[in-house]
């Protein structure tokens, strides 16, 4: 059973990574704490729900195609938001950027409820994905492995981004140097838009991938966002590999926690986060050299 639980943990971990990767990417490059990330995730789930029946219901290919398309649509919406609203206030206090993303949370939640109602919706998934391998009477569900695969693809894509794109350079250039992009002589705005788009895309496909497994309702946004923050913080905001590690840590801890100390399950991850942050604070940080 430990093994099934481990699978559960890793699957949740990868799921969390799918969610957190976009958030941490956006923060790492644009220094924006995007409260609307959970909302984009939810949007991705509902768009998948809308698309699957149109694009081959029941077929595996159809499902993935729908998820991909949902991701793209989410990215489009994210980009529109970035260009119409966010971009106008890059100069001003970061808190303003925070509040404007909170505003987007309100909007998306209301619109989603307006279009799809308040009830949970069922995203039909091909049976091929929802089944299980049965190894001496223990069920190993297929879906977690699907999620895992999807996660790996994203990880590879991420490594690509970090290695070979300018956004990646900025990411690597270190978290605290905002002037860096300027020094690199690249069009910061273009990169910010691109990064917000890809972040939204990741949120969208994460929502789409998870949709058939869990329940999809218009309150997913808040459920998701806090956990996503925790994962990013544990991994170090703006650090994609960290996010991966953090996600796995949280996922596995949660799953194992159910077995060993169930009463703690809810606080557990917050405790991890707190511990990580406090540990981070133990080192003495230096002042300005000049």
């Amino acid at each position: 059973m430990i093994w099934v639980q481990l699978v559960n943990g890793l699957m949740e971990g990868m799921m969390l990574f799918l969610i957190a990767s976009g958030l941490t990417l956006i923060f790492g490059v644009s220094r924006i704490v995007n409260f609307a990330h959970g909302s984009l995730y939810m949007l991705g789930a509902f768009l998948t729900y809308a698309l699957v029946p149109l694009i081959g219901p029941g077929s595996v290919a159809g499902f993935f195609a729908s998820v991909l398309l949902a991701g793209l649509l989410t990215a489009a919406i994210g980009t529109a938001f970035e260009m119409l609203a966010l971009r106008r206030i890059y100069g001003s206090d970061p808190l303003m950027q925070l509040i404007i993303t909170v505003a987007l949370v309100f909007i998306i939640r209301d619109v989603v409820r307006w279009i799809w109602g308040a009830n949970s919706v069922m995203v039909p998934a091909p049976d091929a994905l929802m089944g299980a391998f049965i190894i001496n009477d223990t069920y190993y569900p297929v879906f977690p492995f699907v999620i895992f695969g999807a996660g790996l693809v994203v990880v590879l894509a991420m490594i690509g981004i970090i290695r070979f794109t300018r956004a990646g350079i900025i990411l690597r250039a270190g978290t605290d140097d905002r002037g860096m992009a300027a020094l690199l002589g690249v069009n910061e705005r273009l990169i910010f838009t691109g990064v917000f788009a890809s972040g939204s895309f990741l949120a969208g496909i994460a929502g789409g991938m998870a949709a058939p497994y869990g329940d999809v309702n218009y309150l997913l946004d808040t459920t998701v966002i806090v956990t996503a923050f925790i994962v990013c913080v544990i991994g170090g905001l703006g650090n994609l590999y960290g996010a991966l590690a953090g996600a796995m840590l949280v996922g596995v801890t949660k799953a194992m926690g159910v077995l060993f100390f169930p009463r703690l399950s809810m606080v557990l991850i917050f405790l991890i986060m707190a511990v990580v942050l406090i540990a981070r604070s133990l080192g003495r940080q230096g002042g300005p050299a000049r």
């Binding site: 080192g283 940080q285 230096g286 002042g287 300005p288 050299a289 000049r290």
Partner: protein, 250 residues
């Protein structure tokens, strides 16, 4: 180590990863001396100052101040022990007026930062008033730091550094961005103040004329090490110095 030294550093080393910013620095600073640090950009002048002021973690070696080891202390403790400094890129409380900046400095200097008493505030503002005139900013008292010229900011910072009446005054490029006239004026002011109060001055300066005029001794730094130390005249005469320094600097 010389007993009359106010500050003496031994084998001070500071590395950022593979880059060694300071390499086994030995450095003595007698009481009451006006000492200049010169050298090309990136020679480690500001790093040395930051080390002395306790801003940098992971500093190796020993720094004795008033006969006590201070290498591992936090900046606040060092300030309380009598080290006052200004920064190369001037630092002040940007959303406060010049006067408020000086008042804050004096409140902090009083050691009663947690106080609610109006009287302390009055004392602080009286002192601040005097300082305004000392550094010649009386007419700018109400303007916010953001509106100040670079030169005026330097004056303000100098004034703030005086709040604790420190035994050792560290000035990192105090005259950067000033007109020649301003430079000499400010540094004469500093020198005068230091002599009157019998304090010690260590300053980083690029303007050779100012250095020759103000400093009693000069230390030349290059690539994280000390090239030469001596009276201004000797330093000026030193070919090595001329080579490196004039070569390295503008």
């Amino acid at each position: 180590m010389t007993t009359d030294a106010l500050l003496s550093a031994r084998k001070v080393r500071k590395a950022y990863g593979s880059f060694v910013a300071l390499n086994n620095i030995d450095f003595d600073l007698p009481r009451g001396e006006r000492h200049a640090l010169i050298g090309p950009n990136g020679a480690g002048k500001s790093t040395l100052v930051a080390c002395i002021a306790g801003q940098l973690p992971g500093v190796e070696g020993s720094i004795m101040f008033k006969g006590r080891e201070v290498a591992r202390l936090m900046p606040a403790e060092l300030a309380q022990r009598g080290i006052g400094r200004t920064f190369q890129i001037s630092r002040a409380f940007l959303q406060m007026s010049v006067l408020e900046n000086l008042i804050s400095a004096n409140v902090i200097a009083s050691g009663r930062w947690f106080s609610l008493s109006k009287s302390l505030l009055c004392e602080a503002s009286d002192k601040a008033g005097e300082m305004l005139s000392t550094v010649g900013l009386t007419d700018r008292a109400q303007s916010t730091v953001a509106d100040l010229s670079l030169g005026d900011r330097k004056r303000l910072e100098f004034g703030m550094a005086l709040a604790r009446d420190p035994d050792l005054l560290l000035l990192d490029e105090p005259t950067a961005g000033m007109s020649i006239k301003e430079r000499h004026h400010l540094m004469e002011l500093v020198a005068q103040r230091v002599d009157e109060t019998g304090k010690t001055l260590l300053f980083v300066e690029h303007d050779i004329d100012v250095v020759l005029k103000i400093a009693q001794r000069v230390t030349v730094m290059v690539r994280g090490g000390i090239l030469a130390t001596g009276a201004p005249a000797e330093i000026a005469a030193n070919e090595q110095v001329q080579a490196v320094y004039l070569g390295g600097h503008h």
